[in-house]
Symmetry: C2
Subunit: 214 residues, 2 copies
Amino acid sequence: MEYNAKQLQIIEVAEQLFAQKGFAGTSVRDIAQEADVNVSMISYYFGSKEKLIEALFQLRMNQSRSRLETLLMDEDLVPMQKINILIDSVIDRLMGNQCFHNIMLREQLSSERTPIISEYILSLKLRNMELMQRLINEGQDAGVFRKNIDMGLMSTTLYGTINYAIATQDFYKKINNLESMSEEDFQRYLKRKLSQHLKSLFKSTVTNEHRIES
Amino acid sequence: MEYNAKQLQIIEVAEQLFAQKGFAGTSVRDIAQEADVNVSMISYYFGSKEKLIEALFQLRMNQSRSRLETLLMDEDLVPMQKINILIDSVIDRLMGNQCFHNIMLREQLSSERTPIISEYILSLKLRNMELMQRLINEGQDAGVFRKNIDMGLMSTTLYGTINYAIATQDFYKKINNLESMSEEDFQRYLKRKLSQHLKSLFKSTVTNEHRIES
DNA sequence: ACAAAAATCAAACGTTTGTTTGATTTAATT
DNA sequence: AATTAAATCAAACAAACGTTTGATTTTTGT
């Protein structure tokens, strides 16, 4: 499905409002006003409010598809480098689409979601999981990664940390006295911090290092 | 404020429904029906739907207060043991109040929350942060913890991982073929896994260990 | 320039929303 | 037992909701 400028405008405004106030907390009149279109245009273009959020999911899912997966083919990188690239790419994806991932997290918190959106989320998570599994396997086959790694919990820490960092970024700003920083600078700063933090976390957990208690 | 049995029943039903469908997605008629009371009882007892969720927050916040903080006084525990007790206590708190923490996470995802609830959440987060900071400082003073630890990101990983694990527990069940397990057993299992995972994660990140790359 | 299609609009539709009312029943107090 | 207070209810309230209608304007294709 392709969308014209007006349709994209509606979808993008809806994305922002859903992220701010939730799906149920946002009225079609809110969206119409903010997108500067008549209320009836939403039903006209998308059929219903429900189908609008499905269109949003379809749009964002398709455009996140398989950009990164080529890195796996690169034989010149050692396993830990690939893991690090994966971490940075997840950070970039989540930080660069905060509204959409806010909505996706909300949907995962709900027990009564539409089957269509559930399906989108499930297939995305499976895709991410398989990619990560392959990277881990490469490291294990090369003998540099531990054998007993809980994929599920590792990816939970990866996505959980980034999602929660984004959700509580104002708090992070406050306790670190970063409120004078410009918004752009802070986003860059948080990205860098998250990258360092998660890379060091993953390195310790995933590699076959020998430890000497101090 | 003390609540009678009926009021508590309303609050608890509201808590479940808010967690399932969100605050805006839950109607007072939903709550009244599920709690088996007349619709008007909600306004009668609490004043409004908004004040009902505030009552829920007030109730749950007060009962989570300062139970754990005595562990800090115990001089017989080494710093890493205290950290591990903290981790387990956060896991127990979040896993044991999944509905409420689901709601709290939703509120943190919203940019338009009521000042009262924002205040509750902020003070709780500050309290948790201070406790964690004291434990870290003890370890640093004893020379067993690293000096440059980003408190904000450590607690983000702690809460982010647990919250996300709870939000996606069905997925975790599915990819690990745990769907035949009873619900109780699974909750115990997930708790244990999270505990091991986070303790090992924190140990690697926080302690002054000497590493030898393999 | 004309006809067909697409886009836009104000208005209205029927529901559902949170809340209030006022009468009635139940419980507590004296 | 009488009186006051608390609890409960069906019904009504206005406002907001998602959606549809039908007329009107704008764009497109010929």
